[in-house]
């Protein structure tokens, strides 16, 4: 009797799975999602393409793969242009809010040495939380207005928080939660799908053409590409956050960029950071 019920149950379950597979074909892609395998393949590709570049050196983007660029970078790093932002960031981070609380009260380990854990998947809200989003949520929780993303104070606070995590490898977790896997898959799709009138994907430049010249620039390998953020780009003449980079990349391929911290950008950051697990945080950084 019990066996019969179990058998019926099994059959019903099998039917249900079959039905679901028929009704929801995209679900099968998610079922096949294997972030750990993706990560192994991703890292193997770059290690093979740049055999002389150490894992942590990938954080240095174009400077890891081009000698002449590296020499200029080393000269610039004698007194890096992000120094001012770094000091500003430390001050901002330590200045209490009007209610007397500080950023440290919002973060694990008082916000020191935690950059490598961002973005993370928040199981309560079911979404990806980047460091910048967490910074603004901290402000809002304490009655302060959120900071503008991309530049200025946000980049400065990022710079300081990253500096306290230098040397700590990216340790992004993808919990066993279908929503987390879905976010990861969205980010992965965003990375590989071509967009914009120029029909480029992130991967067109930072996988297939990594290390090659595009106009005057050497394209950074995608592995470790976010480990140096925020960055001072000479091209900008100022600091910029991950959002600023995503938005400018999108615009360069003539695609209408999304708002900073759009769910797609957060998913992309989640995917890219997870791909770079093991690469040590080196931010803030400089770029041409």
């Amino acid at each position: 009797m019990r066996m019969a019920i179990a058998a019926i149950g099994r059959r019903a379950a099998a039917c249900l799975v079959l039905l679901l597979a028929l009704v929801l074909p995209p679900a099968s892609a998610e079922q096949r999602s294997d972030p750990a395998a993706d990560q192994r393949a991703f890292q193997a590709y770059f290690r093979k393409a740049f055999p002389s570049v150490g894992l942590n050196d990938f954080a240095n983007g174009p400077y890891a793969v081009d000698k002449d660029m590296r020499k200029q970078w080393e000269e610039i790093m004698q007194f890096p242009p992000y120094d001012f932002a770094l000091d500003d960031g430390k001050k901002l981070f330590e200045t209490p809010f009007k209610n007397g609380k500080t950023y440290a009260d919002c973060f694990p380990q008082k916000g020191i040495g935690i950059r490598q854990n961002y973005p993370y998947f928040d199981r309560q809200t079911g979404e990806v939380v980047t460091l910048d989003l967490a910074i603004n949520r901290c402000r809002e929780k304490n009655g302060e207005t959120p900071l503008a993303y991309q530049v200025g104070d946000m980049a400065a606070i990022d710079a300081y928080m990253a500096s306290t995590s230098r040397g700590k490898p990216f340790a992004i977790e993808i919990p066993d939660d279908p929503r987390a896997l879905a976010a990861y898959e969205e980010g992965k799709k965003f990375f590989y799908a071509r967009r914009g009138q120029l029909n480029f994907s992130c991967a067109s430049c930072h996988v297939q053409a990594a290390g090659k010249r595009l106009r005057g620039d050497i394209l950074a390998p995608a592995l470790g590409i976010l480990a140096s953020f925020p960055i001072y780009r000479s091209d900008w003449g100022s600091m910029g956050t991950v959002d600023r980079r995503f938005i400018s990349c999108n615009e360069q391929v003539r695609s209408v960029a999304f708002k900073p911290e759009d769910a797609l950008y957060r998913d992309l950051e989640y995917f890219l950071s997870y791909m770079s697990n093991g690469v040590a945080i080196a931010g803030p950084g400089t770029r041409p």
């Binding site: 002449d68 610039i76 242009p81 106009r215 005057g216 620039d217 780009r233 000479s234 770029r287 041409p288």
Partner: protein
């Protein structure tokens, strides 16, 4: 008339140097000994105001004339000019000059293809090493020229830096 543009290749440099000696004597005669009579210390003091006229010049010859009063610039391998072959960004080109000549009194940096040629001028007081590093902007591909004053004479070196359009990458 008495100024010589510095040559890049060694062969040309030797040839020019011979010409220079001839011209040098001529110009010295033309100028008389007046220039030589100005004591070095006084010359250094005079140069301690921002050289407005030199910074306003739009070509190499005019800038050098304004800075050094018609110098005869001899190429010298005692000057090491360190610049990138290709600038990672024209807005930030690291430039280093180290001079292995005695009694250096100033180092000038010029970028002939920029709107204003003279980029920076560093008087070197006694006791300060004739070696500087800084970062310069370059509007487009150009030579970077350094002219060094030592013992009242002028020595030069130049190297091309390619500046390509950026805007992507990173």
């Amino acid at each position: 008339m008495s100024r010589i543009i510095i040559a890049t290749s060694a062969g040309l440099a030797v040839e020019r140097r011979l010409v220079l000696q001839v011209l040098g004597i001529g110009s010295l005669a033309a100028m008389g000994l007046a220039a030589g009579l100005v004591p070095r210390a006084q010359a250094a003091e005079q140069s301690l105001a921002w050289p407005k006229n030199a910074f306003a010049q739009k070509n190499e010859a005019a800038a050098l004339d304004a800075l050094f009063e018609k110098p005869i610039v001899v190429p010298s391998d005692k000057i090491s000019l360190d610049v990138p072959e290709i600038a990672e960004n024209g807005a930030v080109v690291p430039v280093s000059v180290t001079v292995a000549l005695p009694n250096v009194t100033s180092i000038a940096l010029l970028i002939p293809e920029n709107p204003f040629t003279l980029a920076a001028y560093y008087p070197i007081p006694e006791g300060t090493e004739p070696s500087i590093s800084c970062r310069l902007k370059m509007a487009k591909t150009s030579d970077v020229v350094t002219v060094v004053e030592a013992d009242g004479k002028h020595y030069g070196a130049r190297k091309q830096v390619k500046v390509t359009l950026g805007g992507c990458g990173g």
